[in-house]
């Protein structure tokens, strides 16, 4: 039973346009959400996170939106650049006693940004 779902395995976007990556979750206990970017044979690189007490968090070209009632979050990248081409993972956790607790990952969306 997948608790974190990324239903689009791939996304192709033109350079300069907006990339929107989506993620759905089922566990209402999740209270912290993160996005990671990953290149093949490398570890995931942290991009941006959001706590469940917020509905938006912005960092440069990256914005994460959280809709708790719909159990949905999205990552917006504006403007998209060819260097953004990678696999993006959505992850969720339930903070446990001061630590984040283990992350539950979606299966990833492969973003291709074409020049």
């Amino acid at each position: 039973d997948q608790q974190v779902k990324q239903n689009s395995p791939s996304l192709s976007v033109q350079e300069g346009r907006i990339s929107i990556l989506n993620c759905d979750y089922t566990n209402s206990m999740f209270d912290y959400f993160l996005w990671y970017k990953k290149y093949p044979a490398e570890g995931p690189t942290f991009l941006i996170s959001i706590s469940s007490i917020k509905d938006k968090n912005e960092d440069g070209r990256f914005t994460v939106f959280l809709n708790k009632s719909a159990k949905h979050l999205s990552l917006h990248i504006v403007p998209s650049q060819p260097g953004d081409s990678a696999v993006y993972f959505c992850a969720a956790s339930a903070v446990d006693g001061g630590s984040q607790g283990n992350l539950i990952f979606g299966k990833g969306t492969k973003l291709s940004v074409k020049p």
């Binding site: 912290y32 993160l34 990671y36 044979a41 490398e42 570890g43 995931p44 690189t45 942290f46 996170s49 993972f89 992850a91 956790s93 903070v95 446990d96 001061g98 630590s99 984040q100 607790g101 283990n102 992350l103 539950i104 990952f105 979606g106 299966k107 990833g108």
Partner: protein, 113 residues
């Protein structure tokens, strides 16, 4: 500041052998998490260590074990290796409040033949 380090980068073992993987988190990070990424699959949670104690483990058999040392580095041991254990093993460190982000190392590629 040094990032998360993992060793070795690559490890080739034979079925039935044991593998030991090592991880050093960023200085100040006291929690270490281990994840497995098998070919074609997402990242699956393996083990979580905090302050030297195992806090949680994922849905993996007991032949996956580990420990955390007083300097917060960690070791993952996989006994009685099976072919399906071939995967990228990632460790991540986390410093706790107020920032809960986990920072990953480059991974160890384990190949079981």
């Amino acid at each position: 500041e040094a990032g998360v380090t993992q060793s070795p980068t690559h490890l080739i073992k034979t079925r039935g052998q044991q593998a030991t993987l090592r991880c050093s988190p960023i200085s100040g990070h006291t929690s270490v998490y281990w994840y497995q990424q098998a070919l074609g699959l997402g990242l699956q949670f393996l083990l979580w260590y905090d302050e030297g104690e195992e806090r949680n483990r994922g849905n993996f058999p007991p032949r996956f074990s580990g420990r955390q040392f007083p300097n917060y580095s960690s070791e993952l041991n996989v006994n009685a290796l099976e072919l399906e254990d071939s995967a990228l093993y990632l460790c991540a460190g986390e410093g706790g409040q107020p920032s809960y982000e986990q920072y990953f190392g480059p991974g160890t590629r384990l190949t079981v033949t």
